[in-house]
Protein backbone atom coordinates (compact mmCIF):
# COMPACT_ATOMS: atom_id res chain seq x y z
CA UNK A 1 0.00 0.00 0.00
CA UNK A 2 1.70 3.14 -1.11
CA UNK A 3 -1.31 5.30 -1.90
CA UNK A 4 -1.24 8.76 -0.49
CA UNK A 5 -3.21 8.62 2.73
CA UNK A 6 -5.41 11.63 2.26
CA UNK A 7 -6.21 13.24 -1.01
CA UNK A 8 -7.97 16.40 0.14
CA UNK A 9 -5.23 18.76 1.27
CA UNK A 10 -6.32 21.08 4.02
CA UNK A 11 -3.73 23.74 4.28
CA UNK A 12 -2.42 24.75 7.68
CA UNK A 13 -2.59 28.30 8.95
CA UNK A 14 0.07 30.43 10.53
CA UNK A 15 -1.62 29.94 13.86
CA UNK A 16 -1.58 26.17 13.70
CA UNK A 17 2.06 26.23 12.65
CA UNK A 18 2.85 28.58 15.52
CA UNK A 19 1.04 26.39 18.02
CA UNK A 20 2.57 23.21 16.64
CA UNK A 21 6.05 24.66 16.88
CA UNK A 22 5.49 25.91 20.42
CA UNK A 23 4.14 22.52 21.41
CA UNK A 24 7.07 20.74 19.83
CA UNK A 25 9.46 22.95 21.75
CA UNK A 26 7.74 22.07 25.00
CA UNK A 27 7.63 18.37 24.21
CA UNK A 28 11.33 18.44 23.41
CA UNK A 29 12.00 20.13 26.72
CA UNK A 30 9.90 17.54 28.47
CA UNK A 31 11.86 14.73 26.82
CA UNK A 32 15.18 16.24 27.67
CA UNK A 33 14.32 17.22 31.17
CA UNK A 34 17.82 18.37 31.78
CA UNK A 35 17.10 21.23 29.39
CA UNK A 36 14.76 22.60 32.00
CA UNK A 37 16.74 21.72 35.06
CA UNK A 38 20.13 22.82 33.82
CA UNK A 39 19.82 26.57 33.30
CA UNK A 40 18.30 26.61 36.70
CA UNK A 41 21.12 24.57 38.24
CA UNK A 42 23.70 26.59 36.42
CA UNK A 43 22.19 29.75 37.80
CA UNK A 44 22.32 28.30 41.31
CA UNK A 45 25.88 27.15 40.95
CA UNK A 46 27.20 30.35 39.44
CA UNK A 47 25.43 32.32 42.12
CA UNK A 48 27.15 30.21 44.77
CA UNK A 49 30.51 30.89 43.17
CA UNK A 50 30.21 34.48 44.29
CA UNK A 51 30.22 33.86 48.03
CA UNK A 52 32.96 31.29 47.50
CA UNK A 53 35.10 33.40 45.21
CA UNK A 54 34.48 36.82 46.66
CA UNK A 55 33.35 36.82 50.20
CA UNK A 56 31.00 34.88 52.43
CA UNK A 57 30.32 37.84 54.76
CA UNK A 58 26.69 38.96 54.53
CA UNK A 59 27.53 42.67 54.55
CA UNK A 60 29.89 42.41 51.62
CA UNK A 61 27.62 39.97 49.85
CA UNK A 62 24.64 42.25 50.12
CA UNK A 63 26.57 44.88 48.23
CA UNK A 64 27.21 42.62 45.30
CA UNK A 65 24.05 40.52 45.47
CA UNK A 66 22.05 42.27 42.77
CA UNK A 67 24.95 42.34 40.35
CA UNK A 68 25.89 38.76 41.05
CA UNK A 69 22.34 37.58 40.46
CA UNK A 70 22.08 39.45 37.21
CA UNK A 71 25.42 38.21 35.98
CA UNK A 72 24.47 34.65 36.85
CA UNK A 73 21.13 35.03 35.09
CA UNK A 74 22.83 36.49 32.05
CA UNK A 75 25.28 33.63 31.82
CA UNK A 76 22.63 31.00 32.45
CA UNK A 77 20.47 32.43 29.72
CA UNK A 78 23.42 32.55 27.39
CA UNK A 79 24.40 28.96 27.98
CA UNK A 80 20.87 27.75 27.60
CA UNK A 81 20.61 29.38 24.17
CA UNK A 82 22.99 26.92 22.65
CA UNK A 83 20.23 24.33 22.34
CA UNK A 84 17.76 26.56 20.63
CA UNK A 85 18.43 25.77 16.98
CA UNK A 86 21.39 23.42 17.01
CA UNK A 87 19.64 20.07 17.14
CA UNK A 88 17.17 21.26 14.53
CA UNK A 89 19.98 22.37 12.32
CA UNK A 90 21.84 19.12 12.63
CA UNK A 91 18.95 16.84 11.89
CA UNK A 92 17.52 18.98 9.10
CA UNK A 93 14.34 20.13 10.88
CA UNK A 94 15.44 23.70 10.42
CA UNK A 95 15.47 23.29 6.65
CA UNK A 96 11.93 22.03 6.86
CA UNK A 97 10.96 25.09 8.86
CA UNK A 98 12.48 27.36 6.24
CA UNK A 99 10.67 25.54 3.45
CA UNK A 100 7.32 25.82 5.13
CA UNK A 101 4.85 28.17 3.47
CA UNK A 102 4.21 29.75 6.88
CA UNK A 103 6.16 32.88 7.81
CA UNK A 104 9.40 32.04 9.57
CA UNK A 105 8.99 34.98 11.92
CA UNK A 106 6.21 33.28 13.85
CA UNK A 107 7.96 29.97 14.06
CA UNK A 108 11.07 31.65 15.40
CA UNK A 109 8.91 33.52 17.86
CA UNK A 110 7.25 30.29 18.96
CA UNK A 111 10.61 28.66 19.50
CA UNK A 112 11.84 31.65 21.46
CA UNK A 113 8.81 31.74 23.67
CA UNK A 114 8.93 28.01 24.28
CA UNK A 115 12.58 28.22 25.09
CA UNK A 116 12.17 31.06 27.54
CA UNK A 117 9.32 29.24 29.27
CA UNK A 118 11.51 26.24 29.98
CA UNK A 119 14.86 27.92 30.55
CA UNK A 120 14.29 31.53 31.57
CA UNK A 121 11.19 31.31 33.69
CA UNK A 122 12.57 28.76 36.17
CA UNK A 123 15.55 31.02 36.75
CA UNK A 124 13.27 33.95 37.45
CA UNK A 125 11.17 31.89 39.79
CA UNK A 126 14.07 30.67 41.85
CA UNK A 127 15.77 34.06 42.00
CA UNK A 128 14.24 35.23 45.30
CA UNK A 129 15.71 32.18 47.00
CA UNK A 130 19.18 32.90 45.70
CA UNK A 131 18.67 36.56 46.53
CA UNK A 132 18.07 35.53 50.10
CA UNK A 133 21.17 33.36 50.13
CA UNK A 134 23.23 36.27 48.83
CA UNK A 135 21.76 38.60 51.47
CA UNK A 136 20.07 40.91 49.01
CA UNK A 137 18.70 43.82 51.07
CA UNK A 138 15.07 43.37 52.08
CA UNK A 139 12.76 45.40 49.94
CA UNK A 140 14.69 44.75 46.75
CA UNK A 141 13.17 41.34 46.17
CA UNK A 142 10.21 42.60 44.21
CA UNK A 143 12.35 44.83 42.04
CA UNK A 144 14.76 42.04 41.31
CA UNK A 145 11.99 39.60 40.52
CA UNK A 146 10.13 41.96 38.21
CA UNK A 147 13.18 43.16 36.36
CA UNK A 148 14.39 39.60 35.87
CA UNK A 149 10.94 38.64 34.65
CA UNK A 150 11.06 41.33 32.02
CA UNK A 151 14.79 41.17 31.37
CA UNK A 152 15.41 37.47 30.80
CA UNK A 153 13.12 37.32 27.73
CA UNK A 154 15.15 40.17 26.27
CA UNK A 155 18.31 38.19 26.90
CA UNK A 156 16.77 35.14 25.24
CA UNK A 157 15.61 37.09 22.22
CA UNK A 158 18.99 38.72 21.75
CA UNK A 159 20.76 35.44 22.29
CA UNK A 160 18.56 33.87 19.66
CA UNK A 161 20.08 36.17 17.04
CA UNK A 162 23.54 35.07 18.08
CA UNK A 163 22.70 31.37 17.95
CA UNK A 164 20.96 31.77 14.63
CA UNK A 165 24.07 33.37 13.20
CA UNK A 166 26.38 30.69 14.52
CA UNK A 167 24.27 27.57 14.31
CA UNK A 168 26.27 26.13 11.44
CA UNK A 169 29.58 26.44 13.22
CA UNK A 170 31.47 23.73 14.96
CA UNK A 171 32.34 25.54 18.13
CA UNK A 172 29.45 27.75 18.95
CA UNK A 173 29.46 28.17 22.71
CA UNK A 174 32.06 30.86 22.92
CA UNK A 175 31.56 32.79 19.73
CA UNK A 176 27.96 33.04 20.71
CA UNK A 177 29.00 34.57 24.01
CA UNK A 178 31.35 37.00 22.34
CA UNK A 179 28.59 38.19 20.03
CA UNK A 180 25.78 38.24 22.55
CA UNK A 181 27.24 39.39 25.85
CA UNK A 182 28.11 42.94 24.78
CA UNK A 183 24.61 43.30 23.37
CA UNK A 184 23.14 42.26 26.69
CA UNK A 185 24.90 44.96 28.66
CA UNK A 186 22.01 47.46 28.53
CA UNK A 187 19.72 44.89 30.15
CA UNK A 188 22.29 44.23 32.82
CA UNK A 189 22.64 47.94 33.49
CA UNK A 190 18.92 48.56 33.65
CA UNK A 191 18.39 45.53 35.87
CA UNK A 192 21.09 46.21 38.40
CA UNK A 193 20.42 49.93 38.48
CA UNK A 194 16.78 49.30 39.15
CA UNK A 195 17.72 47.28 42.20
CA UNK A 196 20.35 49.64 43.58
CA UNK A 197 18.49 52.85 42.82
CA UNK A 198 15.20 51.75 44.30
CA UNK A 199 17.18 50.92 47.43
CA UNK A 200 18.16 54.58 47.38
CA UNK A 201 14.56 55.60 47.11
CA UNK A 202 14.05 55.94 43.36
CA UNK A 203 10.69 54.82 42.03
CA UNK A 204 10.44 51.41 40.44
CA UNK A 205 8.05 52.47 37.70
CA UNK A 206 10.62 54.28 35.60
CA UNK A 207 12.91 51.28 35.50
CA UNK A 208 10.08 48.97 34.66
CA UNK A 209 9.12 51.30 31.81
CA UNK A 210 12.65 51.07 30.42
CA UNK A 211 12.64 47.31 30.76
CA UNK A 212 9.26 47.20 29.08
CA UNK A 213 10.53 49.29 26.20
CA UNK A 214 13.53 47.01 25.78
CA UNK A 215 11.27 43.99 25.89
CA UNK A 216 8.81 45.33 23.33
CA UNK A 217 11.59 46.43 21.03
CA UNK A 218 13.37 43.10 21.04
CA UNK A 219 10.14 41.12 20.91
CA UNK A 220 9.21 42.71 17.61
CA UNK A 221 12.63 43.13 16.03
CA UNK A 222 14.79 40.29 17.30
CA UNK A 223 12.79 37.44 15.69
CA UNK A 224 13.11 39.25 12.38
CA UNK A 225 16.87 39.29 12.73
CA UNK A 226 16.89 35.68 13.93
CA UNK A 227 14.80 34.58 10.97
CA UNK A 228 17.12 36.35 8.55
CA UNK A 229 20.12 34.85 10.29
CA UNK A 230 18.66 31.35 10.12
CA UNK A 231 18.09 31.64 6.39
CA UNK A 232 21.69 32.65 5.99
CA UNK A 233 23.04 29.88 8.18
CA UNK A 234 21.11 27.13 6.49
CA UNK A 235 21.95 28.03 2.93
Amino acid sequence: MVERIDSRPRSSTTTTAFVATLKRELILAYKRKHDVVNPFMFFLIVATLFPIGISPEPERLSLIAAGALWIAALLASLLAMDNLYRADYEDGSLEQMLLSPQPLYFMVLAKNIGHWLVSGLPVVLVSPLIAYMLSLPEGSYMTLFLTLLMGTPVLSLLGSIGVALTVGLGSRGLILAVITLPMSVPVLIAGTMAVTETQNGASLAGYLAIMGALLLGTLTLAPLASAAALRISVS
Binding site: I161, L165, T166, G168, L169, S171, I175, V178, I179, L181, P182, M183, V185, P186, I189, A190, M193, E197, L221, A225, A228, A229, I232, S233, S235
Partner: protein
Protein backbone atom coordinates in the same frame (compact mmCIF):
# COMPACT_ATOMS: atom_id res chain seq x y z
CA UNK B 1 17.82 51.87 -13.06
CA UNK B 2 19.20 49.13 -10.88
CA UNK B 3 21.69 48.29 -13.57
CA UNK B 4 23.12 51.74 -12.95
CA UNK B 5 23.20 51.07 -9.23
CA UNK B 6 24.91 47.77 -9.76
CA UNK B 7 27.41 49.30 -12.06
CA UNK B 8 28.19 51.84 -9.42
CA UNK B 9 28.76 48.94 -7.06
CA UNK B 10 30.91 46.96 -9.43
CA UNK B 11 34.30 46.13 -8.00
CA UNK B 12 35.97 46.97 -11.29
CA UNK B 13 34.50 50.46 -11.28
CA UNK B 14 35.56 50.98 -7.69
CA UNK B 15 39.03 49.65 -8.32
CA UNK B 16 39.62 51.94 -11.27
CA UNK B 17 38.09 54.98 -9.63
CA UNK B 18 40.07 54.59 -6.43
CA UNK B 19 43.14 53.88 -8.53
CA UNK B 20 42.77 57.34 -9.97
CA UNK B 21 42.00 58.97 -6.62
CA UNK B 22 44.57 57.28 -4.48
CA UNK B 23 47.58 59.41 -5.38
CA UNK B 24 45.64 62.57 -4.55
CA UNK B 25 44.28 61.14 -1.36
CA UNK B 26 47.68 59.95 -0.25
CA UNK B 27 49.22 63.29 -1.07
CA UNK B 28 46.57 65.21 0.82
CA UNK B 29 46.80 62.83 3.75
CA UNK B 30 50.57 63.09 3.96
CA UNK B 31 50.49 66.83 3.77
CA UNK B 32 47.83 67.26 6.42
CA UNK B 33 49.44 64.67 8.68
CA UNK B 34 52.77 66.33 8.40
CA UNK B 35 51.41 69.77 9.09
CA UNK B 36 49.13 68.52 11.86
CA UNK B 37 51.73 66.48 13.67
CA UNK B 38 54.44 69.10 13.45
CA UNK B 39 52.02 71.72 14.64
CA UNK B 40 50.73 69.57 17.44
CA UNK B 41 54.18 68.60 18.64
CA UNK B 42 56.00 71.84 18.25
CA UNK B 43 53.69 74.82 18.15
CA UNK B 44 50.74 74.09 20.36
CA UNK B 45 51.21 75.82 23.72
CA UNK B 46 51.22 73.48 26.71
CA UNK B 47 47.93 73.37 28.58
CA UNK B 48 47.93 75.27 31.87
CA UNK B 49 46.72 72.13 33.65
CA UNK B 50 47.82 69.24 31.53
CA UNK B 51 51.09 70.56 30.25
CA UNK B 52 52.47 68.78 27.27
CA UNK B 53 50.04 65.87 27.51
CA UNK B 54 47.66 68.10 25.59
CA UNK B 55 49.57 66.93 22.55
CA UNK B 56 47.99 63.52 22.98
CA UNK B 57 44.66 65.08 22.19
CA UNK B 58 45.66 65.52 18.57
CA UNK B 59 45.80 61.77 18.19
CA UNK B 60 43.13 60.82 20.63
CA UNK B 61 40.24 62.99 19.58
CA UNK B 62 40.39 62.25 15.84
CA UNK B 63 40.61 58.53 16.49
CA UNK B 64 37.91 58.56 19.14
CA UNK B 65 35.47 60.46 16.98
CA UNK B 66 36.10 58.49 13.79
CA UNK B 67 35.84 55.16 15.55
CA UNK B 68 32.20 55.96 16.25
CA UNK B 69 31.55 55.98 12.51
CA UNK B 70 32.39 52.35 11.93
CA UNK B 71 29.22 50.62 13.03
CA UNK B 72 26.98 52.95 11.04
CA UNK B 73 29.24 52.41 8.05
CA UNK B 74 29.15 48.65 8.43
CA UNK B 75 25.40 48.68 8.95
CA UNK B 76 24.85 50.66 5.76
CA UNK B 77 27.17 48.38 3.84
CA UNK B 78 25.37 45.40 5.37
CA UNK B 79 21.99 46.67 4.30
CA UNK B 80 23.26 47.13 0.77
CA UNK B 81 24.66 43.59 0.85
CA UNK B 82 21.42 42.10 2.05
CA UNK B 83 19.03 44.07 -0.11
CA UNK B 84 20.88 44.60 -3.37
CA UNK B 85 23.44 41.79 -3.10
CA UNK B 86 26.21 44.16 -4.13
CA UNK B 87 29.51 42.45 -3.49
CA UNK B 88 31.49 45.64 -3.18
CA UNK B 89 29.51 46.64 -0.11
CA UNK B 90 30.56 43.49 1.64
CA UNK B 91 34.17 43.92 0.68
CA UNK B 92 34.08 47.33 2.28
CA UNK B 93 32.30 45.96 5.34
CA UNK B 94 34.86 43.20 5.62
CA UNK B 95 37.82 45.54 5.61
CA UNK B 96 36.05 48.09 7.80
CA UNK B 97 35.70 45.74 10.76
CA UNK B 98 39.38 45.23 11.56
CA UNK B 99 40.16 48.83 10.73
CA UNK B 100 37.44 49.91 13.12
CA UNK B 101 38.88 47.65 15.79
CA UNK B 102 42.28 49.30 15.30
CA UNK B 103 40.79 52.76 15.48
CA UNK B 104 38.86 51.91 18.61
CA UNK B 105 41.87 50.28 20.19
CA UNK B 106 44.03 53.30 19.48
CA UNK B 107 41.41 55.66 20.86
CA UNK B 108 41.30 53.55 24.00
CA UNK B 109 45.05 53.30 24.29
CA UNK B 110 45.73 56.98 23.68
CA UNK B 111 42.90 57.99 25.99
CA UNK B 112 44.14 55.74 28.73
CA UNK B 113 47.72 57.01 28.37
CA UNK B 114 46.37 60.53 28.48
CA UNK B 115 44.27 59.72 31.50
CA UNK B 116 47.05 57.94 33.35
CA UNK B 117 48.32 61.30 34.48
CA UNK B 118 45.07 63.16 35.02
CA UNK B 119 43.17 60.42 36.77
CA UNK B 120 46.24 58.82 38.24
CA UNK B 121 45.15 55.53 36.76
CA UNK B 122 45.24 53.92 33.35
CA UNK B 123 41.69 52.83 33.44
CA UNK B 124 38.43 53.85 35.04
CA UNK B 125 34.99 52.46 34.41
CA UNK B 126 33.78 55.73 33.06
CA UNK B 127 30.72 55.71 30.82
CA UNK B 128 32.45 56.74 27.67
CA UNK B 129 35.39 54.45 28.15
CA UNK B 130 33.18 51.52 28.95
CA UNK B 131 31.00 52.03 25.93
CA UNK B 132 34.10 52.33 23.78
CA UNK B 133 35.40 49.08 25.21
CA UNK B 134 32.10 47.39 24.50
CA UNK B 135 32.19 48.69 20.95
CA UNK B 136 35.61 47.11 20.60
CA UNK B 137 34.16 43.81 21.83
CA UNK B 138 31.31 44.05 19.35
CA UNK B 139 33.73 44.73 16.51
CA UNK B 140 35.83 41.76 17.52
CA UNK B 141 32.63 39.75 17.57
CA UNK B 142 31.98 40.70 13.95
CA UNK B 143 35.54 39.84 12.95
CA UNK B 144 35.33 36.59 14.83
CA UNK B 145 32.07 35.67 13.14
CA UNK B 146 33.56 36.46 9.76
CA UNK B 147 36.56 34.27 10.40
CA UNK B 148 34.42 31.47 11.78
CA UNK B 149 32.10 31.25 8.80
CA UNK B 150 34.00 29.68 5.99
CA UNK B 151 31.63 30.34 3.15
CA UNK B 152 32.21 33.85 1.78
CA UNK B 153 28.60 34.47 0.87
CA UNK B 154 27.20 33.23 4.13
CA UNK B 155 29.81 35.19 6.06
CA UNK B 156 28.90 38.32 4.15
CA UNK B 157 25.25 38.06 4.97
CA UNK B 158 25.73 36.94 8.55
CA UNK B 159 28.08 39.81 9.24
CA UNK B 160 25.64 42.17 7.59
CA UNK B 161 22.90 41.07 9.98
CA UNK B 162 25.22 41.31 12.95
CA UNK B 163 26.40 44.77 11.90
CA UNK B 164 22.87 46.06 11.63
CA UNK B 165 21.88 44.59 14.97
CA UNK B 166 25.17 45.77 16.43
CA UNK B 167 24.66 49.30 15.13
CA UNK B 168 21.37 49.61 16.97
CA UNK B 169 23.08 48.15 19.97
CA UNK B 170 25.99 50.54 19.91
CA UNK B 171 23.53 53.37 20.40
CA UNK B 172 21.59 51.57 23.09
CA UNK B 173 24.81 50.67 24.84
CA UNK B 174 26.18 54.16 24.62
CA UNK B 175 22.98 55.61 25.96
CA UNK B 176 22.66 53.11 28.76
CA UNK B 177 26.29 53.25 29.77
CA UNK B 178 26.22 57.02 29.97
CA UNK B 179 23.11 56.80 32.04
CA UNK B 180 24.66 54.16 34.26
CA UNK B 181 27.83 56.10 34.74
CA UNK B 182 26.43 59.61 35.26
CA UNK B 183 24.26 58.43 38.09
CA UNK B 184 27.21 56.87 39.87
CA UNK B 185 29.98 59.29 39.22
CA UNK B 186 30.79 62.92 38.86
CA UNK B 187 31.27 64.04 35.29
CA UNK B 188 34.41 62.60 33.84
CA UNK B 189 37.54 64.62 33.15
CA UNK B 190 36.80 64.25 29.45
CA UNK B 191 33.96 66.71 29.65
CA UNK B 192 35.67 69.05 32.04
CA UNK B 193 38.82 69.25 29.97
CA UNK B 194 37.00 71.42 27.49
CA UNK B 195 37.04 74.27 29.97
CA UNK B 196 40.58 75.52 29.49
CA UNK B 197 41.52 78.37 27.19
CA UNK B 198 40.20 77.34 23.82
CA UNK B 199 41.86 79.57 21.32
CA UNK B 200 42.43 78.82 17.65
CA UNK B 201 46.00 77.81 18.43
CA UNK B 202 44.41 74.78 20.08
CA UNK B 203 41.64 73.86 17.73
CA UNK B 204 43.06 74.70 14.30
CA UNK B 205 45.67 71.95 14.46
CA UNK B 206 42.99 69.69 15.89
CA UNK B 207 40.78 70.31 12.90
CA UNK B 208 43.72 69.65 10.61
CA UNK B 209 44.44 66.39 12.39
CA UNK B 210 40.82 65.37 12.21
CA UNK B 211 40.82 65.89 8.47
CA UNK B 212 44.14 64.12 8.17
CA UNK B 213 42.89 61.10 10.09
CA UNK B 214 39.72 61.05 8.04
CA UNK B 215 41.85 60.87 4.94
CA UNK B 216 43.95 58.22 6.61
CA UNK B 217 40.80 56.24 7.28
CA UNK B 218 39.77 56.56 3.63
CA UNK B 219 43.17 55.54 2.34
CA UNK B 220 43.49 52.55 4.65
CA UNK B 221 39.99 51.39 3.81
CA UNK B 222 40.56 51.79 0.10
CA UNK B 223 43.89 49.96 0.16
CA UNK B 224 42.51 46.91 1.94
CA UNK B 225 39.34 46.93 -0.11
CA UNK B 226 41.39 46.90 -3.28
CA UNK B 227 43.28 43.87 -2.02
CA UNK B 228 40.02 42.19 -1.22
CA UNK B 229 38.77 42.95 -4.72
CA UNK B 230 41.88 41.48 -6.28
CA UNK B 231 41.37 38.31 -4.31
CA UNK B 232 37.68 37.83 -4.74
CA UNK B 233 37.55 38.84 -8.37
CA UNK B 234 40.67 36.91 -9.28
CA UNK B 235 38.89 35.04 -12.02
CA UNK B 236 37.49 38.13 -13.72
CA UNK B 237 39.15 38.93 -16.98
CA UNK B 238 40.13 42.43 -15.95
CA UNK B 239 41.92 41.22 -12.84
CA UNK B 240 43.80 38.61 -14.83
CA UNK B 241 44.85 41.23 -17.33
CA UNK B 242 45.93 43.44 -14.51
CA UNK B 243 47.91 40.65 -12.90
CA UNK B 244 49.65 39.83 -16.16
CA UNK B 245 50.75 43.38 -16.72
CA UNK B 246 51.70 43.98 -13.08
Amino acid sequence: MWTWFHQLGSPKWFYELTGRWLPWLVAAMSLLLLVGIVWALLFVPPDYQQGNTIRIMYIHVPFASISLAFFPLMAIAGTVTLVWKIKLADMIAKTAAPLGAWFTALALASGSIWGSDIWGTWWIWDGRLTSMLLQLFLLIGVISLRSALEDTDAAAKACAVLSIVGCINVFVIKYSVDWWNTLHQPASPITTSGEGPNGPEIWVPLVIMIFAIYLFFAVALILSTRNEILQRERRAQWVQDLVRTA
